[in-house]
């Protein structure tokens, strides 16, 4: 569905994307993680056809590059910054972008209705977007990406500024898309989102992949051991272990335990280990 091969993008002397290669298959959610300035949005922009790689190739469904307008019909993008017309209604926005993608007549009407329903905005379809809440605008931003039913979705931090209820609803929708066979490229700063949604994750920094695998494999390879913290009357004990359950049993048997806490390695720990703790701009 999506194939990047040795893609390089420079901004004068700065290498934003450095020899990046990966593939994403139908029905896969590929997480794209990285600190600010790592090259995520540049990569997404190249896949979307906004930027042209300096070298390397990007192939979409069928082998054409995103520089070909007809090939972009296979791509739906929900950009990080909201890109919708506030003076138009939700329905008008979707109708407009559907027309640009070549939809007409009843197909267009059905897709607009489906998209509004998908993001739970049907009851506000006739209201101007400027009257929507931040979360509703985010959902409409996602709906615009879906209206022409593309096989490849690029979702660039789609949950920024969204309340937990809306975010949870969006997760469920995105997982539905996966079951429909869509390929989803998902960039985020929220590790729990990637951990919950993504089949594979690529961690990028300085334009290069530092690691790329399933979430479980990344945690296993880079997450380190679980930490069991036992609180006793005489103080706290921390034990690193690959089998935290066994450690808990042993501590319990030894007696005197007030409380036990297990910190399992997670994607955030992997991310910080790979990209470091230094602050980024």
């Amino acid at each position: 569905m999506l194939h990047l091969s040795n893609v390089v993008k420079r901004y004068s002397s700065i290498v934003a994307v450095d020899d990046l290669s990966f593939e994403a298959s139908p029905g896969e959610i590929f997480g794209f993680l990285g600190p600010n300035g790592a090259g995520k949005t540049t990569t997404i922009s190249m896949i979307a056809g906004l930027l042209t790689p300096d070298s390397g190739s990007i192939k979409l469904n069928g082998g054409a590059g995103p520089d070909q307008p007809h090939a972009r019909r296979d791509v739906g993008v929900a950009p990080q910054s909201l890109a919708i017309y506030e003076e138009l209604t939700g329905s008008e926005n979707l109708t407009f972008f559907g027309k640009l993608a070549g939809l007409r007549g009843s197909t267009l009407r059905q897709r607009v209705a489906w998209s509004l329903d998908f993001v739970a905005l049907n009851d506000r379809r006739a209201d101007r977007v400027k009257t929507y809440s931040g979360g509703m605008k985010r959902r409409l931003n996602l709906a615009v990406a879906l209206v022409h039913d593309p096989p490849l979705l690029l979702l660039d931090e789609p949950t920024v500024g969204v309340d937990p209820q809306s975010r949870n609803a969006m997760f469920e929708r995105i997982l539905e898309l996966k079951t429909c066979g869509k390929t989803v490229i998902y960039t985020t700063h929220y590790m729990e989102e990637a951990q919950r949604l993504c089949d594979r994750v690529g961690i990028i920094d300085h334009g290069k992949f530092l690691a790329m695998d399933t979430v479980d494999n990344l945690i296993e390879q880079h997450g380190g051991k679980s930490v069991v913290t036992a609180t006793r009357a005489d103080g706290e004990v921390r034990i690193e272990s690959t089998d935290p359950l066994d450690e808990c049993i042993k501590l319990q048997q030894a007696g005197g335990i007030v409380s036990l806490r297990v910190d399992r390695p997670d994607l955030e720990r992997v991310f910080l280990k790979l990209t470091g703790r230094a602050l980024r701009d």
Partner: protein, 386 residues
């Protein structure tokens, strides 16, 4: 490509109409301008301080040259010289208030000692300048009397006056020529004010759409359009079409109002239709040019209005060109506003022939093409990466 362009244009039209402030500036202000200045011009048409005239010396004698020189020295006139055809053309195009032809034998008759052998002058006055016709006649009479005073012989004049009293006598014979074939002058101030008002609507559209291209870029929707399965040409074509439709329909609507309620009946509907199309084409090009004047909405709006106001000032969009001094009327040739107004006036009341319309039409078409090309080439599609 066509349907996508129509979708883009439809979106922009909808956005324009939803922006109450923009719609007010674009549609209501020009109408108010038309009515307001129409009423004022009804009493002002024909008044001016310095009249630009073309002198045609067909006599080519020292006396005719001396008379032409007197006119050139007069404060009331700004004189140029030309052949008859060019002089008529200059008046028909509104570049000069009047032409004055010193006919064959003018010098000889001017030197005649007899009162009733009068030199003959042909005068053609811009139909918009009825009042000036009388002023010009008065001025020419004054200078003719001054010239003839040196030649008249007292004895002769006494005898002539006894034989033929001086009632209705004039020192020169005036032949007032018709400059345009049909209507001799604008029937009302509205004939002048509506083309001017339309220009303001056109400028409003031009500024709104120029800024909207930048708004698309700064608000991220331009990126989304670029990610859609359409080319850049379609995006610009959609914007251009929306600007064209707005500009053209505004002009048509104002002319319909002018026709129905203010008695402004165009002399040539076909010419007017072509003029309105080409005015829209020219200002679509200027809209594209304006969009590259800055990077932010504010800078494009500010600089855009700066350019448009300069065009309007020079081109007679603020004050009709007939009230401008001669040097400014010459300078106005560089303003597309001048050609836009002239093309509309040519069809509404100046009664230009098709061949006379070709110049303003050509200028408007050229302006549209050149400015659009510059704007499209200079337009920044830049979007930021991470």
């Amino acid at each position: 490509m066509g349907r996508e362009v129509l979708a883009l244009a439809g979106k922009d039209m909808r956005l324009l109409l939803r922006d109450k402030g923009g719609a007010f500036v674009t549609f209501i202000v020009p109408f108010a301008y038309c009515v307001f200045f129409g009423v004022i011009l009804a009493t002002q048409i024909g008044r001016t301080q310095e009249m630009r005239i073309v002198v045609v010396d067909e006599d080519q004698t020292p006396r005719s040259a001396e008379f032409a020189d007197r006119l050139a020295r007069a404060e009331a006139f700004a004189v140029t010289h030309a052949a008859r055809a060019d002089a008529i053309d200059a008046v028909r195009r509104g570049n000069s208030v009047a032409y004055v032809v010193l006919t064959k034998g003018f010098g000889e008759r001017l030197s005649q000692a007899r009162l009733h052998d009068r030199p003959r002058i042909e005068v053609g006055v811009d139909p918009a300048r009825k009042v000036e016709a009388a002023m010009i006649e008065g001025m020419l009479t004054k200078y003719a009397i001054e010239s003839r005073a040196e030649s008249l012989v007292v004895g002769n004049t006494d005898r002539e006056i006894r034989e033929r009293p001086l009632r209705d006598w004039k020192p020169i014979e005036f032949v007032l020529a018709k400059v345009v074939g049909g209507q001799e002058s604008p029937k009302s101030g509205f004939h002048v004010s509506f083309p001017l008002g339309i220009i303001w609507g056109v400028l409003g559209c031009c500024s709104s759409f120029g800024s909207s291209l930048v708004i698309e870029r700064t608000r991220g929707t331009l990126s989304r359009l670029r990610m859609a399965p359409i080319g850049r040409t379609s995006i610009l074509a959609g914007k251009a079409l929306a600007c064209f439709i707005s500009t053209f329909s505004l002009a048509v609507a104002l002319f319909v109002v002018a026709w129905l309620f203010f008695g402004v009946v165009p002399n040539a509907i076909g010419h007017l239709a072509i003029s309105l199309v080409l005015v829209a084409v020219a200002f679509v090009g200027i809209m594209m040019f304006i969009s590259i004047l800055g990077k932010t909405e504010r800078s494009v709006s500010g600089l855009g209005w700066g350019v448009l106001l300069a065009m309007a000032m020079l081109g007679g969009g603020m004050v009709p060109r007939m009230f401008m001094p001669a040097w400014m009327q010459s300078l106005s040739n560089i303003s597309p506003v001048k050609w836009a107004i002239l093309s509309m006036e040519g069809a509404v009341w100046r009664d230009f022939s098709t061949s006379e319309m070709l110049l303003p039409w050509g200028v408007l078409l050229g302006v549209g093409i050149v400015f659009f090309a510059i704007g499209a080439k200079g337009f920044s599609w830049q979007t930021e990466g991470s």
